[in-house]
């Protein structure tokens, strides 16, 4: 009928119109709610129930290994305990120490690698494929392998550095450098992630402003400072948030690399929570600390992400 010269019969016009009244549109709101329902049910059950449990327990006495189990309401006692627990604060300090150093190094190194990857010509695809390998490895499994490689007597790292004349180090046994060694491991594993995202960001940048800058005679540094970096900033903020949220939750690597040692020099908050919760089974104290931690993370993320969220919402509205 596409090019047929016969005009449409009137009946079909009326027929189709007549049926229209029956097909009222499902409102956008209803439809959008319908779409998020399956995911929300899962999230609500498995995020809110544990959260509610944790909140509940944090206001009670709860020692699972004692015959009393989860017992009476104790008010803010557990929070009081947490806030006055020197070990809690020192583990928070270690966590921040780890997170700040690891994330900053990963960001700098990752962005640098992204630039390099963007720049090279000869084995670009291969390099891009290979650089993400650490990312694909299970932190727990390779953590054990790293512990093996870090071993001061039998590890390959000491062997390698001694070959080039650097004195051997007690990577995980010296409390001065053990945290550094854990950071190195995390950097090894997560720098590719940052690099990958930064590379994606770089490749998504429009070419023309850079060409214009080249014609305008701008130096590399000026281009980076006034163009590249500000344009990458949103994506880097996001990586920063994602990495920080992950870094402060570091657990697997600590279990397999140091178990918090030597001494307590790598005992980050999650590992302390593990000991409190899964060794001493003091769920009350562990929950209180975890909730304080969650609150801090949410506030931190919320602050950093506000701009990003607003942009996203604005774009959605613009599309409607």
């Amino acid at each position: 009928m596409s090019t047929g010269s016969v005009p449409l019969p009137d009946t079909s016009v009326n027929g189709s119109t007549g049926s229209k009244a029956k097909h009222r549109a499902l409102s956008d709101t209803l439809y959008s709610v319908f779409l998020i329902t399956p995911a929300m049910i899962l999230i609500l059950i498995f995020a809110l129930v544990p959260l509610a449990y944790a909140i509940n327990v944090s206001f009670r006495f709860a020692d699972l290994t004692s015959p009393r189990g989860v017992a009476e309401w104790v008010g803010l006692e557990n929070y009081h305990f947490a806030l006055n627990d020197a070990f809690f604060w020192s583990s928070v300090q270690r966590t921040l120490h780890f997170a700040i150093f690891a994330v900053v190094i990963e960001m700098i190194l990752g962005v640098a690698i992204a630039f390099l990857l963007n720049d090279i010509k000869w084995f670009k695809g291969l390099a891009r494929s290979l650089i993400i390998l650490p990312l694909a490895a299970s932190p727990f499994a390779v953590g054990l392998i790293w512990r093996y490689m870090y071993h001061p007597d039998f590890g390959v790292f000491n062997y390698l550095i001694s070959r080039v004349g650097i004195p051997e180090q007690n990577w995980l046994g010296n409390s001065q450098i053990a945290m550094g060694s854990v950071i190195a491991f995390d950097v090894w594993q997560w720098t590719p992630f940052v690099a990958l995202i930064a590379l994606a960001g770089l490749q998504a940048l429009p070419k023309e402003p850079f060409e214009a800058a080249a014609l305008d005679g701008a130096s590399r540094w000026r281009v980076f400072r006034t163009l590249t970096f500000p344009m990458l900033a949103p994506v880097l903020t996001l990586v920063l948030v994602l990495r920080t949220v992950d870094a402060v939750r570091l657990y697997d690597a600590i279990v397999s690399l140091t178990a918090g040692g030597p001494g307590t020099s790598t005992e980050v908050l999650t590992f302390y929570l593990y000991r409190l919760g899964m060794r001493f089974f003091r769920l009350d104290q562990a929950s209180a600390m975890a909730l304080l931690f969650l609150y801090a993370t949410v506030v931190f993320t919320g602050l950093l992400m506000r701009r990003f969220m607003q942009n996203m919402a604005a774009r959605t509205r613009a599309k409607q």
């Binding site: 229209k20 009244a21 097909h23």
Partner: protein, 375 residues
């Protein structure tokens, strides 16, 4: 019969369409014309049911369409950015609307081939849209909209991205096709030639407000206001600010900025009558094709101007002239050998200009000519 009854669409505090009334007869080809951001596409989306009006109603064949979802409106649409499915081949793109109707595949194939032949995209049927040029994509998009029968065809800039040659050709094809289909078409464009060429009636809108709704001829020759006048015609109409003055006791117009060396323009009778009440914010508009220039002053060519720049069209030149601070474009025969800053004389006369007050039309050249010729 498609009707928009006082339709308003607001996005937040921004009003995209303001109390728009339209009615479009069955089989009529209506072009919505306006600059970017005028609300053209929003109007189309409202008709299609993609967005719901904030106020007002849309009726089709005597039935209100409010809250009828797009899939039940029996309309098709071409989108400005083609909206082709990049994961489907051209064939599947064209077949997509037919498959929704569960049409047998043999019939689908027949129709697709037919449409492909008309739009000259036969060789690309197996390709994905990503491998087509902009023009080819636009034709596929057009084909996808026209392949099935619908109550209303909504075309959003369907041929504006084609190159000049193809655009001319497709314009003709589109016009012929729609004539044959007796289809009700709402066509959106920012190209006045396309609008003039295709439409039975034209809707000129700006910032969501209806400026004029009339036949192409009427729009061109009797624009309702400065906006319509400025947007229809190429090169665009030139505007000159004027002040009411008198010469030899008769009212006439003084071009502002030429007070030192007054450039005076005479007034037609109709205009004179109208100006008796209020003579503020006057402006005359001249079309490049309505006036002519001469290198010597004469009775007919009495307005002095200076050549600003000369651009050629090949068979003719567009001479941009400067009167005071105003630029006036004139179409002139090529080969006059005019140089920048040469002095020329223009015939700005009642039968060559439109007169506007507060941006609204007061008189048109045709009126004046009719009066002058005593018709």
């Amino acid at each position: 019969m498609l009707e928009l009854r006082s339709v308003t669409k607001r996005f937040g505090s921004k009003t995209a369409v303001h109390r728009l009334n339209l009615e479009c007869k069955p089989g009529e080809f209506v072009v919505i014309f306006g600059p970017a951001g005028a609300g053209k596409s929003t109007t189309l989306n409202l008709i299609a049911g993609i967005t719901d009006p904030t106020e007002g109603e849309i009726w089709l064949n005597g039935q209100p369409l409010n809250r009828v979802p797009p899939e039940h409106r029996n309309m098709t649409m071409v989108f400005e950015n083609y909206a082709l499915y990049s994961h489907l081949t051209v064939f599947d793109n064209l077949a997509f609307p037919l498959r929704a109707q569960r049409m047998p595949s043999a019939e689908i194939a027949r129709r697709v081939d037919e449409m492909a032949a008309i739009l000259q995209i036969g060789p690309f049927l197996k390709r994905r849209p990503g491998f087509l040029s902009g023009g080819q994509r636009q034709r596929v998009a057009l084909g996808r909209a026209l392949i099935r029968d619908a109550d209303v065809y909504l075309l959003d800039e369907p041929i504006s991205h084609l190159d000049a040659k193809l655009r001319h050709q497709m314009r003709g094809e589109l016009k012929a096709l729609c004539q044959r289909k007796q289809a009700t078409v709402i066509h959106v464009t920012h190209d006045y030639r396309e609008a003039m060429s295709l439409s039975h009636r034209m809707v000129v809108i700006d910032k969501g407000h209806l400026m004029q709704f009339d036949t192409p001829d009427a729009i061109y020759h009797t624009p309702a206001n400065e906006f319509v006048a400025s947007f229809v015609g190429e090169p665009p109409m030139s505007f000159i600010d004027v002040k009411l003055t008198t010469r030899d006791g008769a009212p006439c117009l003084l071009i502002t900025g030429t007070e030192a060396q007054p450039a005076i323009v005479s007034l037609g009778d109709a205009a004179t009558a109208a100006l008796a009440e209020n003579a503020n914010a006057l402006r005359i508009g001249v079309r490049a094709s309505d006036i002519s220039l001469s290198t010597t002053a004469s009775a007919s060519h009495g307005t002095r101007a200076e050549v600003y720049v000369v651009e050629t069209l090949g068979h003719r030149d567009i001479v941009t002239t400067q009167i005071g601070t105003h630029l006036v474009k004139v179409i002139a025969p090529s080969g006059l050998g005019l140089q920048v800053r040469d002095t020329v004389w223009l015939n700005i006369e009642p039968h060559t200009y439109h007169l506007f007050r507060d941006e609204q039309s007061i008189s048109h050249p045709t009126d004046e000519m009719r009066i002058a010729q005593g018709v």
